[in-house]
């Protein structure tokens, strides 16, 4: 018996040792860079922190109590959700429309695909700078074009009711091409015969879209939706570059991550920052669980 174990284990041991060696850098890295930090962030959220995370004083759940009573935090939750509910449906619907139009013989198909992808390549910092200029209420191109058709100037970046929409427009503009490329890849997996068969049955293009295309592309659609939601919930760059704290629209646009950044690194209150990011984690977890639950009802895995 012992002999048999030995015999087997020599080759198995070899495989085990290779496997452990191969995963070692990644696993050690993940533990140091991610697992320990999660625990530390959770731990820090229970402390009132002095400068640079030193001079901790244990305060229990005080940061959470403060957070629950902080209208700015709740406003940030609302802002983040508003941004997400603007970006996700609009960007995916547009991406779907463009993908369907490009998923057929069409002149300049690959050129369109490339052009729509360009915003994905540019750094959000640079992109937001130019959008801010386009949105400029006195000298911006957008207000000039609107004035040509008689629309009075809009304060795109300073009007508290409008600024979040302006930010969402940048978000949609940035991600539409990326989502389109993913959806197009999904569309191309649908066998041609399905369409031919339904054409013989006399189905029109619109009906084909709803009876064939949409059901068969749901797995890709689900993936695109999950990633877009998670990304939108973490919006920071565009808002950071566009809305500074003195902007009158700050309260109505600050996102959870921006609030986390300001508290942790601008005001050096890392305990409170940690509590805010724990709230973000909780919200994203809830959204993810809901999506996985609801997924079974509409995603078609064939």
């Amino acid at each position: 018996m012992a002999k048999a174990v030995n015999k087997v284990s020599k080759r198995t041991w070899n495989e085990w040792i290779w496997a452990w060696f191969l995963i070692a850098p990644t696993i050690i890295g993940l533990i140091v860079l991610n697992i320990i930090p999660i625990i530390r962030t959770a731990h820090m959220s229970l402390f009132k922190s002095g400068d640079f995370g030193r001079n901790h004083i244990f305060v229990g759940l005080d940061n959470y109590v403060r957070m629950v009573n902080d209208p700015q935090v709740w406003q940030a939750v609302v802002n983040t959700l508003v941004y997400t509910f603007l970006v996700v449906p609009v960007s995916i619907a547009l991406a779907m429309l463009i993908a369907v139009l490009l998923n057929r013989p069409l002149k300049g198909r690959s050129i369109y695909r490339t052009i729509y992808f360009i915003p994905m390549i540019a750094a959000p910092a640079a992109v937001t700078m130019v959008w801010r200029w386009l949105y400029n209420s006195n000298f911006g191109l957008i207000n000039y074009l609107l004035s040509l058709v008689g629309i009075p100037p809009v304060n795109w970046t300073t009007d508290p009711r409008i600024a979040i929409v302006s930010i969402a427009i940048i978000g949609i503009w940035s991600i539409v091409g990326y989502n389109m490329v993913l959806l197009l890849a999904g569309l191309q997996e649908i066998p041609r015969d399905y369409y031919e068969a339904s054409e013989i049955d006399g189905a029109g293009k619109v009906r084909q879209f709803f009876t064939i295309t949409l059901p068969l592309v749901t797995p890709t659609l689900f993936f695109v939706m999950v990633t877009t939601i998670i990304q939108s919930m973490q919006v920071f760059d565009v808002i950071y570059m566009m809305i500074d704290i003195t902007n009158p629209a700050y309260e109505k646009t600050v996102s959870l991550v921006y609030l986390f950044y300001n508290n942790s690194f601008k005001y050096s209150d890392k305990g409170y920052g940690s509590a805010i990011v724990m709230l973000l984690l909780a919200i994203i977890m809830v959204l993810t669980v809901i999506q996985i639950k609801v997924q079974k009802r509409w995603v078609n895995y064939g």
């Binding site: 290779w18 860079l33 999660i38 700078m129 197009l184 998670i230 973490q234 760059d237 950071y240």
Partner: protein, 290 residues
């Protein structure tokens, strides 16, 4: 019968016309979308050549600069260490791509093709990392970099990207679909596991490596918060984080701001136009794998 034939012909022509009309409409729609995608970049470049007076002139509105002068480029280049910024950004991207690909491929191969104790547990760690918002790691990561006094270095920029859970997951999908016979043949030829991985399997997931390389490079290039936090000195910034500082320094001098933006994004644009097929196809092949 003749009449019916004519009617059919007419119907066919009407259909042809309708098809052509819908073709034109589709192109119009796609074209206007494409213009929206490009317009901000065109405006960025045009503004960078205008004088301040031209950029703020409303009556008449100035679309094109009267003279194509490089003076803003000279000023902005002089006031900021752009060569330094290019180097910092490039070094960060190169190291992150290299280490990310290497470590992820190693781990992905083990998770996809080998059996070992703790496999599910360790893969659980990979999945867990992917589900958590990255901001949750940032304060402790910053405190670690600060504790070893490595702020304002290239190492600090690379630090959170030393390993990649996403990359491990993505490449695992690519390794999983390879046929088992390949490994058996390699074994018969006397390859050990390391050699099989390096010489037989790794070359077969090239498209996965390209996709991951593009993702990693783009993510590193676009990231704003981490370089903003960890490398606060002007000489250690990346292109992204430097733009944030330039924006607050130049405030409303839009031609100079646009110049800085052009200087920050042109290298990546150039790379994109040279390798656009790899970019778009890399992203689309990976989409189906996730």
């Amino acid at each position: 019968m003749g009449e019916r034939f004519v009617g059919k012909k007419k119907g066919r022509e009407a259909m042809k016309l309708r098809k052509r009309l819908s073709g034109v409409l589709i192109h119009l729609f796609l074209l206007s979308g494409a213009c929206t995608m490009i317009l901000p970049f065109v405006w960025m470049v045009l503004t960078s050549f205008k004088t301040v007076a031209e950029s703020t002139s409303m009556n008449p509105f100035v679309f094109f600069p009267s003279e194509w002068k490089w003076e803003h480029y000279v000023t902005v280049w002089k006031q900021n260490h752009f060569l330094r910024l290019y180097w910092n950004t490039f070094a960060m991207m190169a190291i992150r791509v290299f280490l990310g690909l290497l470590f992820s491929a190693m781990a992905a191969y083990a998770f996809a093709r080998l059996n070992f104790p703790g496999k599910n547990f360790f893969f659980g760690i990979v999945l867990f990392q992917m589900m958590v918002p990255t901001q949750i790691f940032i304060i402790p990561q910053y405190l670690m970099v600060d504790a070893i006094q490595m702020r304002n270095t290239i190492f600090a920029l690379v630090f959170p990207g030393l390993v990649s859970a996403f990359g491990t997951f993505l490449l695992r999908q690519f390794f999983m679909v390879l046929p088992k016979e390949l490994e058996e043949a390699a074994k018969l030829d006397g390859c050990n596991i390391g050699q099989t991985f390096l010489y037989v399997m790794l070359p077969l997931v090239r498209s996965g490596l390209v996709a991951l390389g593009i993702f990693t490079a783009l993510f590193a290039f676009k990231d704003l918060m981490w370089p903003l936090i960890v490398n606060t000195s002007a000489d250690a910034a990346t292109l992204s984080s430097a733009l944030a500082k330039i924006q607050s320094a130049y405030s409303v001098h839009y031609p100079e701001l646009m110049t800085a933006a052009v200087l920050a994004i042109w290298p990546m644009m150039l790379v994109f136009f040279l390798f656009q097929r790899q970019f778009v196809e890399g992203i689309s092949t990976s989409g189906g794998k996730l």
